[in-house]
Amino acid sequence: MTGGPSAMTLNLNRLLDRIEDGLAVIAAGLLLCAVLMVSLEVVARYFFNSPLSWTFEVTEYFLLFIPCLGMGWLARHDGHVSIDIVTGRLPEPLRSRLARVVALCVSAACLFVAVWGAIATWESYSKGARIEAILQTPQFLIYSAIPLGFFVCALEYARKALRAAPGEAEST
């Protein structure tokens, strides 16, 4: 690798950052919404005796969207906990090579889940399946969080795998 990264790579890099940040902001918003909705539910039930039955269901969907939307963002910040007993002690060229192989495997696994998630989402869309609960939410809307989240996460780990190691031509 000689010379700096091309303008296109830079743009793609920035685009992925933006997507990850955007999804993370939505996830944080959902988290705050959940706090408000559940508190409202308690108040509605105990003080006005009129439970808002839908909060239960909606917050459950949030619990799938929060990790899925935040996954790629967290991966960029190395927030997915890992155990560095051995890797922390490896000499440098070996350590970053291993880290790249790990990132590549994780990326492949996430892509695999994204593909199967897309298949599951598509199938429930074409069947018009709905979740058996009060709101009768279309299943595919909820399932879609899985392919979306894992796909962005796969991209992030692919970027980690491809990124030049410190000491090589270019680093970010």
């Binding site: 706090v35 799938l64 929060i66 935040g70 199967w116 599951a120 909820i142």
Partner: protein, 437 residues
């Protein structure tokens, strides 16, 4: 089909290898699940099942306290609520030897009742108290020790995010488990105090007494009323409502968050910057935990499918060992794993195997849960890789790692002592659970 006793070490071994190679915990579980599905279930449609299990494992109302309890801790950490409460408690203590150590345990316990995050709690105590303890020449086991010990209490005393994870994986009542953890948590704090008292008495030079600015009774009471007592509102919103049967643990968690926000706002401590910081911190910890939960539930399904869970169960029940020996054996495994591994991973590896066994042996699942959680708390402080050791190393960079290990030792022993006390008198943890409506 291959025999379970060949499969079990293969599955666990492969998982451990991935973890050692530095795979993030969540994705190590994911890859093992994918491989298991391919090799044992022939792939294909079975992957469809994995997607459904990802969906099903996190979309559970009872998991919502995980992010909410963490959010409570983050608000406490980023607003100045903790600092003010600490200042007020500082005034209450007179000129006693080891007063800063007592202050650490006292405030650590109070903050543990407001926060579900051990790391936030320890980092907070460390940055607020360690500098003045060092300036006063406190010994390591009376400065760093109580910080780690009482920092770790956040995962025992409700709200506790890890207790929710445990209850979900082991399928025990979250409300009951949270309540069952109160007395053991307070007992541990009390024993820490006793240790500090004895230690400061026997060697006064390890916690030199110093003159404190005398606060008037009026000042003391004012500090208590303004900065410490209001915290009990939050404790009530979380624990009280569960006790009274007014709200589910999830609703209690939401009320607790709202209460924390409200209190921070009342002290005029809430601005956009702090809320964003708290949300950011909460998002990283909860996404990390929920991602693990989403992909790792498939792991227990894999163990069940391979026949390992049932095979091991039959093997153990045929061995005819007494329940107490079995508990000790299982706890030994948790303790050993705890030296190297992160807590959720330990729970997800061991609980699918342990839970059927303790059911078969007639061991109370709540007692077992409390003991295991205390043991997992120890895991945070055991060398070489206890998380809190490193949190503290981050706060006190010039202290050698060995000194930090030694400082944690008395507190680890106290935790072990409490585990034995609970084994002897399970009522320590069960008595309160009977009061829950």
């Amino acid at each position: 089909m291959i025999e379970w006793w060949i499969l079990l070490p293969l599955i666990i071994g492969a998982l451990l290898i991935l973890l050692v190679l530095g795979f993030p915990v969540a994705f190590a579980f994911l890859i093992i699940n994918l491989a298991g599905i391919e090799l044992l279930q022939g792939g294909g449609r079975a992957y469809h099942q994995l997607i459904l299990s990802i969906y099903a494992s996190v979309t559970s109302f009872s998991l919502l306290p995980i992010p909410l309890f963490v959010l409570m801790g983050e608000i406490l950490w980023h607003s100045n609520i903790a600092g003010r409460a600490l200042g007020a408690m500082d005034k209450l203590l007179g000129r006693v030897p080891g007063r800063l150590s007592f202050l650490t345990v006292g405030s650590g316990t109070v903050f543990a009742a407001l926060s579900g995050s051990t790391v936030a709690n320890t980092a907070m105590l460390g940055s607020m108290l360690l500098p003045s303890m060092k300036a006063r020449g406190y010994a390591h086991d009376l400065s760093m020790g109580p910080i780690m010990g009482s920092g770790a209490l956040a995962m025992l005393i409700p709200p506790s995010a890890l207790a929710v994870v445990y209850a979900t994986v082991a399928k025990v009542s979250i409300g009951k488990l949270l309540v069952a953890l109160i007395v053991p948590g307070l007992l541990i704090a009390a024993l820490y105090v006793v240790y500090i008292m004895i230690r400061a008495k026997l060697s006064p030079e390890s916690a030199p007494a110093y003159d404190v600015d005398k606060a008037s009774t009026r000042e003391k009471i004012e500090g208590l009323v303004r900065y410490v007592l209001p915290l009990s509102i939050i404790v009530f919103l979380v624990v009280g409502v569960i006790f009274l049967g007014v709200a589910t643990p999830t609703e209690a968690a939401a009320l607790g968050c709202l209460g924390s926000f409200g209190l921070a706002a009342a002290y005029r401590d809430l601005d956009v910057k702090r809320v964003i910081l708290a949300l950011k911190g909460t998002l990283s910890i909860s996404v990390m935990m929920l991602t693990i939960m989403a992909v790792a539930i498939g792991f227990s399904q894999l163990l069940a499918y391979s026949g390992a869970s049932r095979g091991l169960l039959e093997f153990v029940t045929a061995m005819d060992v007494s329940p107490i020996v079995m508990i000790l054996l299982m706890q030994l495994i948790v303790l050993i794993l705890g030296c190297f591994m992160e807590q959720i991973a330990i729970m997800l590896i061991t609980l699918p195997i342990f839970i059927p066994i303790i059911k078969a042996l007639g061991i109370d699942p709540i007692v077992f849960a409390v003991i295991t959680l205390i043991n997992l708390e120890i895991a945070l402080m055991t060398p070489p890789f206890g998380l809190l050791l490193f949190v503290l190393k981050g706060v006190a960079r010039d202290v050698p790692m060995k000194a930090i290990y030694l400082a944690a030792t008395p507190y680890i022993l106290i935790d072990v002592l409490v585990i034995f006390l609970i084994l002897i008198w399970p009522e320590i943890t069960l008595a309160l659970t009977r009061l829950v409506r």
